[in-house]
Symmetry: C2
Subunit: 227 residues, 2 copies
Amino acid sequence: MTEMSSSSPSGTGVPGRIGIGLQMDAIHMKMLEILRENARISVAALAERVGISRASAYTRLDALRADGVIKRFTAEVDHVRAGLGITALLFVTVRQQMWKQFRAQLAQMPEVEYCAITTGQHDAMIQVRMPDVAAVHTLVTERLANIPAVKATETVFILDEVLRRPYVLPSDRRQQPRQNPRKAPAPEQSPRRPSGIDPEGPSTIPLGKMRFVGAAEGRADMHKDDD
Amino acid sequence: MTEMSSSSPSGTGVPGRIGIGLQMDAIHMKMLEILRENARISVAALAERVGISRASAYTRLDALRADGVIKRFTAEVDHVRAGLGITALLFVTVRQQMWKQFRAQLAQMPEVEYCAITTGQHDAMIQVRMPDVAAVHTLVTERLANIPAVKATETVFILDEVLRRPYVLPSDRRQQPRQNPRKAPAPEQSPRRPSGIDPEGPSTIPLGKMRFVGAAEGRADMHKDDD
DNA sequence: GTTGAAATTAGTACGAA
DNA sequence: TTCGTACTAATTTCAAC
């Protein structure tokens, strides 16, 4: 349950295209901004804050839900106070052609809060919440390791969660900090240009330190023991 | 804004202890289970589903909010349909003694959805939502790289988000037959359907492939160019 | 912790701009 | 389409038990 990939047509995994059906406008965006911070706001108050009538607010809210822009309204609970004080990231390497089984197994693990398929050294990242570190270790060695689709894992603990935003929206890209005056990346508000490589920008930062990890780089060493 | 560490006493970063103030019971848990899946449910319906009166439901809901167990009610929006089709993970190595500056810079980056301090090869993991891959590249090379606290980064793209659960609760932990008898968080009467897939499959996977990455392992090579 | 009544709000329908 | 209004059902608040 709680499957994602709502925008993926099939199980292929690549996020699909944008906004079929509903034509998002500034009012829709504003509604999203308000709702992600207070999902229990009354429709009347929502209508007033975005400056439309109450009836229109109902219509638009229904449209947002029906079109899948809003997937659900949820409560953000403090996992620590709820009794799950340990958060870990499990990076797993998945045997090819066993993805379907891997996904099926994940659905059976309720302690998994998030799972994403990634490029890079590993194939997937799983975030779990557990009561203690021993439980994480048990989970990894006794349950994850028993999944045939899992070839290798790497465990990393989360020491602190600095910030979690209810969900980023395009309209968030506005204010830029002033402390990098060498570059003023056009704080626009509505039109979204395809973020060109910014031809004018000679970077003064040594980019040699930056590593861009593609789809299969560095994975060979983990595959070598698979045959 | 949207700072986390609500359970950390200061900015030290280590998640703190559990449930100060409020004594969680089975009814509180059940309310959380319901609210994380439908934050807009009426209190009357919530009261009926957990089997208490409405007034009690109001009282308990207020308590959950006041105690911080429920941090907020939010809307899960489909970022793809909202216009941010690309999700990336940025693993960054942070210069020691510059953590405070690093956190301050993060607060200025609205495209950041999540940031956690981790053990392992890197120091922090940042999840960003962007309209396209070029925007990610621009963000990494021109904004992240300009932060003095950032020593190195590694970018990984998310190809698919397999699942996201609104927030894991202790009651999610299905009954484990035998593997962790030291902690048994009493799943009570939650009707958790047993999966058809055998959880205790034969351990045919060599555990030697499992890597457990501690706090500083493998980090030396990224620090070598810092002096 | 529970009930019940008053005040408020939600949800829907319909006509008009 | 969107808005404004009216109307009924449902919810929240507050009181007393």
